[in-house]
Amino acid sequence: AEEATPQLGGTVNISTMYRTLDATTWDLQNWTWKGNHDNLQLESLLRGDLQYGPRGKNENSFVEQAYIPYNQLEGSLAESWEVKEDPMRVIFHLRKGVQWQEVPGVMKKRELVANDVITSFQSRGESPRAIPTFWDFIERWEAPDDHTVIAYFNQFHGNWPYRIAWGYYDGISPPEWQNLSEEKRADWRNAAGTGPYRIEKIETGRQQVYAKNDDYWDSVTLNGKEYPLPLNDKVVYHIIKDEASAVAALSSGRIDIMEAIRWQLVDQLKKTAPELQFRKNLSTNGTYIALRTDQKPFNDVRVRRALNIAVDQKAILSSLLNGEGELLNYPFAQRWTEFYTPLDQLSPEARELFEYDPEKAKKLLAEAGYPKGFSFDLQVCSCSPYHMDVAPMLQAYYQQVGVKVNIKTMEYGAFRSNMRGKTQAGGYLMNNGSGNPIQVLRKSFRTDQTWNASWYSNEEFDRKIDAAIKEPDTEKRNAMLKELNDFIIEEAVPHVWLPTEMGYSAWWPWVKNYYGEQRIGAVKPNAIYSRIWIDQKMKESMGKAR
């Protein structure tokens, strides 16, 4: 509110949290999550309400990958929505006057109608690369009129808003685009949507340029005055593989916003560019060693416990991470206050796991039949500096309890494709995005899921998670999920939990109307970026305008 009058126009140069990655695909039919962050031309039915974030009530930092509390949602393409039972259904009332962008050779400008939404979901569901079962809870879609879309459920699904209204795979594309050949859909020039930007230029490996959509429906009120969005003319994503180069680009002002900075670099940056504004967030990932619970020696929970106890997590946090991190951020993230059980509220057995006690660990190992210890391979991805650093420390800790660790570094592709592959080792040091409560429990611990790197399998757990998902009552469902989370931590112990790192984002003071939000749920940062305006004068006065 205290902001000066916005200056419209200008370019926002961003190094996003995915700064090293190009868009994997422009064809959302391919179902890769990475495409989403880049598709600023796409919108979905709902989105998070930024007013709950730092610019308003400050209840949500809006850095989460796939989690928005239900009450913090607002309409996007749908102006409003209703959840009805008998039959179970959700009714979306589409916003009127939303226009599809004109894309030469693909489509003319026209209004978005209900059928567009339905075909978007249907064709995506029919793609050969579609994820089986993802939309199985939907029985059918219906469009009673041009501005109403009804999704009939055959069964309640606790994660429905994420799955159909604001998640990774819910960007609404026009039928004209859907009907293109695969090859044409892959071409960014043909990308079409309703979003605040259209794609102007893609130079893979260097930058993605998004230009303002003049017909965008949304607006923002600043200082009591309403401005059509977006406030800027262009958003440029810079693809920078090398960290040093990215930091250099930021400190020279060639980049206005850098969304992911390792804490190690912050001190120097503060010195070099004292005007930079920083925001610190706990990473949205959990860090842990997935232990193969299906194999010896880790099929014995005592061994898994011993391996937790043998590591001084607090020491790692205070030394290696210089205090820049938190213990226990997985499966549930600390930010999910309504789900998260803090350490001190967990059972003593669980709390014990976070207390360093090598003697106890040795005892446990001996009990499990490994008095002389054993050796195991630990697969580590060379892509993560934190992991590369922590691995030797873990090795040292385990040596003290007689367990020998062979560190196997792997390059990203080999590491990732090895997860649950034939050669996956006993220990697999990984980061895993926590997503949202339902998702994290399912993907990491339900039997046979790809991301269940510890090969954890427990029939009762499977049953309970399935039941929780189907539970329509929010209170009940939340309680069930919370219980499952605590069970995993206290009893299952499929992982060695490790501290989660802090991350920073930084921006120059001339970046206005921006508060360090990174994503509104499952990426889709267009609402954030379109609200930014650049104080050109300030930039000039700081000598960074070029």
Binding site: T204, A244, G253, R416, S417, N418, R546
Partner: protein
């Protein structure tokens, strides 16, 4: 001459064939299957064998390797290197979009390397075992000993720390604004060129020493020529032949160097494409990059051979 070129081109066919087989198969030997990777990208997948098979078929990876090769080779002969497994975009297009950056970087680096290496090499040979020679050689070997990425990092980071300067965001095409374009490419190609110059310098020096010992140099002295003329007119041209060969050998090294330099200087070249493709196991892209670099190397070597004709009159084309 035309016939000679044609003959040389024909002679490239077996090499090309072997290169393409290597490019095609080596890549596919990489463990960390693209299917696993694709499936693992998706937190919802369950890794069921049917899903895997379906994806395998969708990507055309279910046929025997030799069939895949034949299919690919057939397309490749028509200039179609297939489509990226992830992006579905034509590999030819992806490479075309990146080739110019790498080529420009490479050519500039090579020019710089020659501009540094040749004079120093010649000088060091002519003044063998003098202070100048020692300094020249020390410099060149130091340049060789310094890892590229380290020098590159310093060059990127220090100006940013000291003067708040970093390489520009925009990559202006050369033909739009040569000056701006060169500004972007100057530093990276300088770093790359410096380390190459060391090799060129050493080769030049060695060859010059060899040539300076030849009888015809003695003849030139005996005619009463000035040192400048003896060196430049009589020695250099003869010393250049192996140096030119070296350029052919340097091209692959140059390509390797660009991988790292492109990364540090944010240049979207083939190296970056390759690294990314390797980490995502995008076989057609890897194969394509491989093949293109291979062909470029072969063509450069052909060019080198043609240069012989100019430098060495004994090489005749017409036979």
């Amino acid at each position: 001459m035309g016939f000679y070129v044609l003959r040389r081109l024909l002679a490239l066919i077996p090499t090309l064939f072997i290169a393409s087989v290597i490019a095609f198969t080596v890549v596919r030997l990489v463990p960390g299957d693209v299917l696993d990777l694709m499936l693992s990208e998706n937190v919802y997948s369950s890794g069921a064998p049917e899903d895997r098979a379906q994806l395998e078929q969708a990507l055309g990876l279910d046929k025997p390797l030799y069939q895949q090769y034949l299919h690919w080779a057939g397309d490749a002969l028509q200039g179609d290197l297939g489509e990226s497994l992830w992006r579905n975009t034509p590999v030819t297009g992806e490479i075309a979009a990146r080739l110019d950056v790498t080529l420009e970087l490479g050519i500039l680096a090579l020019l710089i390397a020659l501009a540094i290496g040749l004079p120093i090499g010649i000088f060091a040979a002519v003044r063998q075992e003098t202070l100048g020679d020692h300094i020249g050689r020390t410099f060149s070997i130091l340049a060789l000993a310094m890892p590229n990425f380290w020098l590159g990092t310093l060059v990127v980071i220090l100006p940013a720390l000291w003067w708040g300067w970093s390489p520009p965001n925009e990559l202006v095409p050369f033909f739009e604004n040569p000056l701006e374009n060169l500004k972007t490419f100057l530093l990276p190609s300088l770093i790359l060129g410096t380390s190459l110059s060391a090799v060129i310098m050493r080769m030049t020096r060695t060859m010059m020493l060899e040539v300076l010992r030849q009888d015809y140099i003695r003849t030139a002295w005996a005619k009463g020529l000035r040192e400048r003329r003896v060196v430049l007119m009589h020695a250099v041209k003869n010393a250049m032949i192996p140096v030119i060969t070296l350029v052919g050998i340097l091209v692959p090294i140059l390509f390797g160097g660009t991988v790292i330099i492109e990364q540090i200087f944010r240049l979207p070249g083939l190296g970056q494409l390759l690294l990314e493709a390797v980490s995502t196991r995008d076989y057609p892209v890897i194969t394509g990059v491989f093949l293109v670099t291979g062909v470029v190397v072969m063509l450069v070597n052909l060019l080198v051979d043609l240069c012989y004709g100019y430098l060495d009159p004994k090489v005749r084309y017409d036979r």
